[in-house]
């Protein structure tokens, strides 16, 4: 895992509690998992971004109240996220949230496990060769068609499909390696 070791994180939190400008480092190491957690329940991308932004703004504001009592920082963020999702669902009453949102307490929760997996996968996307990464981001995050991507990148559709294939194969392989 690329998450910070517990002790490092403890120090990072203490530093950010003292100086909120240090919060960016915590944000960097937790962005993917929070986004993934939110995106699973809020399928609309723009709304997922709004909720994610809300979670981190709340975390920044309430960071001084965070106390390390055995529960990792990620669990605290998940709890803020769970509440933010419920709040949003209340606002958009007609739209039911995909999964019932339970208070987040346990780190072996299968849903959270899956979020961790997704977060790992998203980090791996950042490590792909440039042309593969661009195709993946445009295809999956921006939901563009192969034709649109081909035009944007000045490549043939066949080339884009090949990059897409190689990227997914590489990600699949790295995830497998990661799980031994």
């Amino acid at each position: 895992m690329t998450t910070l070791a517990e002790e490092d994180e403890r120090l990072l939190i203490a530093a950010a509690q003292k100086d909120p400008r240090r919060f960016a480092e915590l944000y960097e190491s937790h962005f993917q998992r929070v986004y993934s957690y939110v995106a699973r329940r809020v399928p609309d991308r723009a709304a997922a971004e709004d909720v994610t932004a809300d979670v981190f703004h709340q975390a920044l504001k309430n960071l001084p109240k965070f106390e390390w009592r055995g529960a990792p920082f990620a669990a605290w963020l998940y709890r803020i996220a769970a509440n933010a999702i419920v709040d949003r669902a209340k606002k958009v009453a007609r739209e039911l949230v995909q999964a019932a949102v339970e208070p987040v307490e346990e780190s072996h929760d299968p849903v959270l496990e899956q979020c961790e997996q997704r977060a790992l996968l998203f980090r791996m996307v950042r490590e792909l060769p440039d042309d593969q990464r661009r195709v993946v981001v445009q295809r999956f995050a921006e939901e563009k068609s192969v034709r649109e991507i081909a035009t944007a990148l000045g490549r043939s559709e066949g080339a884009v499909k090949q990059l897409q294939f190689r990227a997914l194969a590489a990600l699949r392989e790295r995830m497998r390696e990661h799980h031994g």
């Binding site: 509690q17 909120p20 960016a24 993917q32 971004e49 932004a53 001084p64 499909k161 897409q164 997914l168």
Partner: protein, 326 residues
Amino acid sequence: MADRTEFGDQVERLDLALDAMFARRDSQPISADADVYPLVEVGAALRELPREGFRERLKAELERAAGTAVATVNPVRKGFRTLTPYFPVRDVRGQIEFMTKAFGAAEICHFTAPTGGVHAEVRVGESMVMVGGGPEWRGTPMPTSLWMYVEDADAAYERALAAGAKTITAPVDQPYGDREAGVTDPAGNQWYISTHKGAHFVREGMHDLNLYLHPTGAAGLAEFVQKAFGAEVIERHDAPDGSIVHATMRIGNSAMGMGEAHGVYANMPTMIYMYVPDVDATYARALAAGAEALTPVTEQMYCDRNGMVQDAWGNRWYIATRVREP
């Protein structure tokens, strides 16, 4: 050639399966041929991939918010100055009662911890005093001495005696322009009660309530507070032997008096709550200047980040920075 064709075929079938997946609203993988299915699964997970730019945009937004948060918290708690005398006493109620009767003090807040320890904050004139301890408290009381300016030193002196204080000196006009008396309160704190004979009853550069330390070896303490806390000497009168008869120091926006211990004004190690812009830096500087660490710097639930050091004269400095507002 056969391999290339097979590869081309896989690439096409994967793309078709992904198109079918995008056509569905949920993020569950759809059926696909066994050889491309694992890749479609990866593709399904990637549907939750954040958009490029969002991560950076939010980061910039948070950094702006954090910058604002830093700027809006004043490191000195509202209503307080750099230095606040802290009275550790057993009889917290009695101490507050004395200050109320003698000097018109007003209790601002009073907490009792689950362990029985008490912390109270009292306004005296335009200054604050902290009183802590209580009957359950096991520490050692640390009486101190205060240099106080009031409108009418004679009247305050009389009220102090009526409230249970013992006299040290009756009011007398001093050559330095103050009418001044001295009393010891029931807990053993010494109060210089003064009225300045000038435009205002508070001497210029002083507040109405100031600490006054009587260390044995005041010159050394003066040097320590300069090194550790960046104190400035406002005035200093030395005896021929080099010891300090009287000095006024400025620390942050507070003033503090000190003079060599003599007679009834013996060395009384004092507890002081001190607000500084950066508690960690000041704490480190105090240790470098020779102070001993008593409690490490920790963020407290009452919105201060603080730690305690003791100087070589036994004074305890609670060094604090306000880090947020409740």
